[in-house]
C-alpha cells in the first residue's frame, strides 16, 4: 500500500515537472517559421535596435533618478544612523567604565589612607599606653625604693637603739654579776666602757 502510494506520488511529481518542462518549451506563437531577414538570431536584427536602446535609456535614467534621489540616501541614512547610534552607545559605555574605574580608584585610595590612619592610631595608642605604663612603673619603683630606704633607715636606727640598749643591759648585767661574784658593788660606768670596747672590737 505504502509502496504504491510512493510510486504514485513519484509519478505525479514527474508528470508535474514535465508539465513545467513543456511550459519552458512552449511556443506561444506556434510554428517555427524562419525569423525574417534570415539572420537567424533575433538579437542581430537591427530593426529593433532603436526601440531597445530608447527603452533601455529610459529605464536606466528612471532607475538612476529614483535610486540616487530616494533609495540610496535612505539606505545610507539608515546605516549612518545605526553606526552613530552604536558609536554613541560604545562611547557611553566607555565613559561609564572610566567613571567606575575612577570610583574604584578613589575607593581604594580612601581605603589605603584609612588603613594607614588606623594603623597610626593604633600605634599611637599603643605607644602612649606603653609610655604611661612605663612611667607608672618607674614611679612605683621609685616610691618602693624610697619606702625601702626609709624602712632600712628606720631598721638601722632601731637596730642601733637596740644595740645601745643591749650595751647598757650587758653592762648592768655585768656589774650585777660582778657584784654578786665579788660581793661588792661594781662601778656601772666602768662596765659600760668595757662593753663599748668589746662591741667596738667586734665591729672592727
Amino acid at each position: 500500500m505504502m509502496d504504491r502510494l510512493k510510486k504514485l506520488t513519484g509519478l505525479t511529481f514527474c508528470a508535474l515537472a514535465l508539465g513545467v518542462q513543456s511550459v519552458f518549451a512552449a511556443d506561444p506563437h506556434h510554428g517555427a517559421e524562419p525569423v525574417e531577414g534570415g539572420a537567424g538570431l533575433p538579437q542581430f536584427n537591427p530593426e529593433y535596435f532603436p526601440t531597445q536602446i530608447f527603452w533601455l535609456t529610459v529605464t536606466f535614467i528612471v532607475m538612476y533618478v529614483i535610486f540616487s534621489s530616494r533609495i540610496l540616501p535612505d539606505i545610507s541614512g539608515i546605516l549612518e544612523n545605526r553606526r552613530s547610534h552604536i558609536d554613541g552607545d560604545l562611547e557611553t559605555a566607555e565613559r561609564l567604565r572610566s567613571e567606575a574605574d575612577s570610583v574604584q580608584e578613589s575607593y581604594e585610595s580612601h581605603l589605603n589612607t584609612s588603613r594607614v590612619e588606623a594603623k597610626n592610631l593604633v600605634n599611637g595608642v599603643h605607644a602612649s599606653m606603653k609610655a604611661k605604663a612605663e612611667s607608672q612603673l618607674q614611679q612605683l619603683r621609685e616610691k618602693a625604693e624610697k619606702d625601702m630606704h626609709t624602712l632600712e633607715v628606720r631598721l638601722q636606727s632601731a637596730k642601733n637603739e637596740a644595740m645601745e640598749q643591749m650595751g647598757s643591759i650587758a653592762a648592768e648585767a655585768a656589774s650585777e654579776a660582778a657584784a654578786k661574784i665579788m660581793g661588792a658593788p661594781a662601778d656601772l660606768a666602768q662596765a659600760q666602757n668595757v662593753v663599748q670596747l668589746i662591741s667596738k672590737r667586734e665591729a672592727a
Binding site: C14, L18, S22, P28, P42, W55, I66, L72, I75
Partner: protein, 248 residues
C-alpha cells in the same frame, strides 16, 4: 519541437514612432518596466520604516547596498563614491534583466547584444569623458604602462589601445553570450522532453532524463544570472578606476 530561438524574439506591444524612428513599446520594454517597478518598489518598501533593527526586507536592501559599496571601495577606492548611484543602477538593471529572465514566458532583455552593448558603451564613454575632463590629454598615458622602456612603445601602445577599445565589446558579449546560451540550453533540453512525450509511455520515461538535467541547469542558470550581474559591475568598476587614478 519548439523553436529555442523564439524566446529572444521581440514583439511590439504598443507601436510608437517618433521622428521616423520606431521606438515601439515591446515585450523587452515591458520587462524593463517590470524591472524598474519591482526593484524600486521593493527597495523603497524595504527602507520605508527606517528601522534601527532591520526586518528581513530591510536587511536584504542593506546587504545589496553594502555589497555594491564594498565592490566600489575595493575596486575603485574611496574616490569611487561619486560613481555609487551609477554602479548601483547598472548592477540593478543587469540583475533584474538576468533574474526576471528566469521566469517562464518572460523576456530576458540582457540576452540582447544591443542592450548589453549600450550598457557597456555607457561605461566606456563615461570612462573616456570623465578621464579626459579630469586628467586632460595625460589621461592617454594609460596606453603606456609605467616602467616600459621607450623602444617598446611602438609595440605596447597599439596593444594597449586595442585592449582599451575591446573593453565594451568583451564586456557586452560576455553578458549577452552567457544569458543567451543559458536560455537556449534550457529551452533545448525542455524541447527534448516535450518531443519525447509524443512517443507514448516509453517516451515519457525517456523524457525524464533531460528534465532532470534541466532541474540542475535551472539552478546553474540562477548562479549565472547573479554571477554575471556581478562580473559586469566589477569590470565596470575596474574600468572606472582609470578615471580616478592613472597607472594602476
Amino acid at each position: 519541437m519548439a523553436d529555442p530561438i523564439h524566446q529572444f524574439e521581440i514583439i511590439p506591444l504598443i507601436p510608437l514612432e517618433v521622428a521616423g524612428v520606431d521606438i515601439a513599446f515591446t515585450n523587452s520594454s515591458l520587462w524593463m518596466l517590470i524591472g524598474i517597478v519591482l526593484s524600486t518598489l521593493t527597495l523603497s518598501m524595504a527602507t520605508r520604516r527606517k528601522a534601527l533593527v532591520p526586518g528581513r526586507l530591510q536587511v536584504m536592501s542593506e546587504m545589496l547596498y553594502e555589497f555594491v559599496a564594498n565592490m566600489i571601495r575595493e575596486n575603485i577606492g574611496s574616490a569611487g563614491r561619486q560613481y555609487f548611484p551609477l554602479i548601483f543602477t547598472l548592477f540593478m538593471v543587469v540583475l533584474m534583466g538576468n533574474l526576471l529572465g528566469m521566469i517562464p514566458y518572460s523576456f530576458t532583455y540582457t540576452s540582447h547584444i544591443i542592450v548589453t552593448l549600450a550598457l557597456a558603451m555607457l561605461i566606456f564613454f563615461t570612462v573616456l569623458v570623465i578621464g579626459v575632463i579630469k586628467h586632460g590629454l595625460s589621461f592617454f598615458s594609460f596606453l603606456v604602462p609605467p616602467g616600459v622602456p621607450v623602444w617598446l612603445f611602438p609595440l605596447i601602445i597599439p596593444i594597449e589601445l586595442v585592449s582599451f577599445l575591446a573593453r565594451p565589446v568583451t564586456l557586452s558579449v560576455r553578458l549577452f553570450a552567457n544569458m543567451m546560451a543559458g536560455h537556449l540550453m534550457l529551452k533545448v533540453f525542455a524541447g527534448f522532453s516535450v518531443s519525447m512525450l509524443g512517443l507514448g509511455a516509453a517516451g515519457f520515461f525517456a523524457g525524464l532524463v533531460p528534465m532532470f538535467f534541466n532541474v540542475i541547469l535551472i539552478g546553474f542558470e540562477f548562479l549565472i544570472a547573479l554571477l554575471h550581474a556581478y562580473v559586469f559591475t566589477v569590470l565596470s568598476c575596474i574600468y572606472l578606476k582609470d578615471t580616478v587614478e592613472l597607472h594602476h
